[in-house]
């Protein structure tokens, strides 16, 4: 096993796929010589040339739509939207076209496009550059939503995405790009719709995804010092969602806390809370708790931004309050 940063694991997956599948192309702003704003596509231009690694104009609506159209035309495009904050400009193509074309035309044509985007806050980028809207995409039927938190999952899930015939929203947390983790060698995949049990435990289930997983794990460490054994689940994909895996864990621990960077009201945590209480009501010793982003446009100032994001301490408190 190699130790790789998430950005490098992603790049490896893309490179390997491009070697074996001519139909794969990469499009996005500055994915070429610049190597992508977060360095994921660095070096690919040299290896695959400007026909397959395409710098686009700053035209999110058109190049995302073109990715969809290219998928319809027989390619397997990987589109990079530099950050999720710019995906608003392309949402019409994602929702009205990518998510619906297979269905509304009676199943005649698949839309195998992967739309990668960087999300998250915590880097002092201010209100317009700090969105975490994973849950929004998971609300749209026809899309699959993938949001890994480790290098191994990043590569394995992307490889699964390559073999999927549906539009995939692949969300990468900006604060995690540099985080290293073990990446298996060779031909492995991580299936969609299976939670990863990031830490086993028996006393409470702490559920995270993307940027909030490290916080969930950190909180579990602290709780262990108090003899509370938290089980930490990394959802990995929000659509499909491993409802079964989540509910199994809660049935065991009787307590659930969701941690997310997104705003609380209507965040994906709401869906989790709703499902858990629907399916495991009698197993719960306490209401499902949510530790989430404060509902403010993200402030630039450093301490304010910290205060707007969930913290390990809040997770610890939320779990503690259930005993």
């Amino acid at each position: 096993m190699a130790e790789l940063a998430i950005r490098d694991a992603l790049r490896d997956a893309i490179r390997e796929q491009m070697v074996i599948d001519e139909r794969v192309i990469v499009m996005g702003e500055d994915v070429g010589a610049y190597g992508g704003s977060y360095g994921v596509t660095k070096g690919l231009l040299d290896e695959f040339g400007p026909e397959r690694i395409r710098d686009t104009p700053i035209s999110e609506l058109a190049f995302v739509g073109a990715g969809i159209g290219a998928a319809i035309g027989g390619l397997r495009p990987i589109i990079e939207i530099m950050t999720i904050n710019f995906s608003f400009l392309a949402l019409d193509q994602i929702i009205n076209n990518a998510s619906k074309i297979h269905y509304m035309f009676g199943g005649q044509v698949p839309v195998p496009v992967i739309i990668r985007m960087a999300s998250g806050a915590g880097l002092s980028l201010g209100a317009q550059h700090s969105h975490s809207l994973e849950g929004w995409f998971a609300h749209i039927p026809g899309l699959k939503v993938v949001c890994p938190s480790t290098a191994g999952d990043a590569k394995g899930l992307l490889r699964t995405a390559f073999e999927d015939n549906n539009p995939i929203i692949f969300i990468e947390n900006t604060a995690l790009y540099g985080v290293k983790g073990e990446v298996p060698e060779g031909d492995y995949r991580v299936p969609f719709g299976e939670v990863r049990i990031a830490r086993e435990g028996s006393d409470a289930t702490v559920i995270g995804y993307s940027g909030s997983v490290p916080q969930a794990l950190g909180a579990a460490d602290r709780l262990a010092e108090e003899d509370i054994e938290a089980e930490v689940l990394d959802l990995r994909t929000l659509q499909p969602l491993d409802t079964h895996g989540v509910v199994e864990s809660v049935r065991k621990t009787h307590r659930a806390v969701v941690v997310e960077h997104d705003w609380r009201s209507g965040g994906f945590g709401a869906e989790l809370a709703a499902r858990i209480q629907e399916l495991a009501f009698d197993d719960l010793d306490a209401p499902v708790a949510r530790v989430a982003g404060v509902e403010v446009p993200m402030p630039y100032s450093f301490e304010l931004e910290k205060a707007a994001l969930p913290s390990e301490a809040q997770v610890v408190d939320a779990v503690r309050a259930m005993f």
Binding site: P57, F63, I72, M104, Q108, E163, N166
Partner: protein
């Protein structure tokens, strides 16, 4: 361009074919309006009469391997492309035998086998798609073309600008065809479009662009032909603005407060079908030949209605069938069931139940 010369250059059968398509579209649309009034067709219905020469002239020059992307006013394009009137009418009726299996409706006709890549109901939304499919063509190295059809209203959308720029810088094999029927819903093009001649907008991207008489099927055909030839030689995208007119309201709900009846009458006087009939008569065609076409399309459209009437609605159990396309992993896991399946294997979705339940239950909305 001299019409007579074109007539001379085009084989008889082809000329009659053009007339047939135009007449079929006209007849089909009038029947659709009637079926709408009778409640057989629901939702929005946008009809094509007046614009037949544009669609037919354009599509007559496409090869089987060319792609077409259109908007919601696309019945004419679909029929011109050879989609069966039966299957198109069945789609409007919401029947499982429809071109989109009843899931699409009037605004979303699709036929992959004919590379008719869909009607789209978000103004301008099909333009980026057309660029993308053209990119696929370019990567695959073939000489086919993607045609994007849209209205005058679409040219003020951001997607128009972004798509034309993208096509131009990458020299994509796209033919952009703007059907300028002077109105976007109730708004005259001149009130919302700062560029007097729309085709000039395309020039600014360094694209070949021209304006044609969209009421003259031979003129459209000829200009399309030249444009396609250049695109197939990898000279990059091209743009055609066809000047035309819709006789009916924007959709069935349109009270047409925004224009004078006399304006409609004026345009009707240069009706594309009548004009073309005149051309044919002035050449060596017989009245009877042309009348035979009218009779033929009457029968075709009657057949289409009968077929649509007699077809079934899609079974309620299929409601969730095509949300996701099957993928390698799904097929593996369901080796015993090769039918398309939803992808989330492990998901115990309460919605599936809801979907099934709903089939038996009553619904009160609207």
């Amino acid at each position: 361009m001299s019409i007579e010369k074109s007539v001379a250059g085009i084989p008889r059968e082809e000329l009659l074919g053009l007339l047939h398509k135009m007449a079929l579209i006209r007849r089909f649309e009038l029947k659709a309006a009637e079926m709408y009034a009778r409640g057989r067709i629901k939702g929005f219905l946008h009809l094509y009469p007046g614009q037949e020469a544009t669609g037919v002239g354009l599509i007559s020059r496409l090869r089987d391997d060319d792609y077409i992307y259109s908007h919601y006013r696309e019945h004419g394009h679909a029929l011109a492309r050879g989609l069966e009137p039966k299957a198109v009418m069945a789609e409007l009726f919401g029947k499982v035998t429809g071109v989109s299996h009843g899931l699409g409706g009037s605004m979303h006709l699709f036929d992959h086998s004919r590379r008719f890549m869909g009607g789209y109901a978000i103004v301008g939304g099909q333009l980026p798609l057309a660029c993308g499919t053209a990119l696929a063509i370019q990567q695959l190295g073939t000489d086919n073309v993607t045609v994007a059809i849209f209205g005058d209203g679409a040219v003020n959308e951001g997607s128009f600008h972004e798509s034309l720029n993208l096509a131009a810088i990458w020299r994509l094999p796209v033919l952009f065809v703007c059907e300028n029927n002077l109105y976007g819903m109730g708004t005259h093009v001149s009130r919302v479009t700062a560029t007097h001649d729309i085709y000039r907008r395309a020039e600014v991207y360094g694209m070949r662009s021209e304006q044609v008489d969209g009421m003259d099927v031979l003129e459209v055909r000829d200009h399309v032909d030249q444009a396609l030839r250049r695109i197939r030689k990898h000279e990059g995208p091209a743009f055609i603005e066809a000047m035309t007119y819709r006789y009916r309201g924007h959709s069935m709900a349109d009270p047409e407060f925004y224009r004078e009846k006399s304006e409609v009458e004026r345009w009707r006087r240069q009706d594309p079908i009548n004009r073309f009939k005149d051309v044919l008569l002035r050449a060596d065609f017989e009245e009877e030949e042309l009348e035979a076409i009218d009779e033929r399309v009457d029968a075709e459209v009657e057949d289409a209605v009968r077929f649509a009437e007699q077809s079934r609605f899609p079974p309620i159990e299929t409601l969730t069938q095509h949300v996701y396309a099957p993928s390698a992993a799904d097929l593996l896991e369901t080796a015993e069931a090769p039918e398309p399946v939803q992808a989330e294997k492990r998901e115990e979705s309460p919605d599936r139940e809801a979907g099934e339940k709903a089939s038996a239950s009553e619904h009160e909305a609207a």
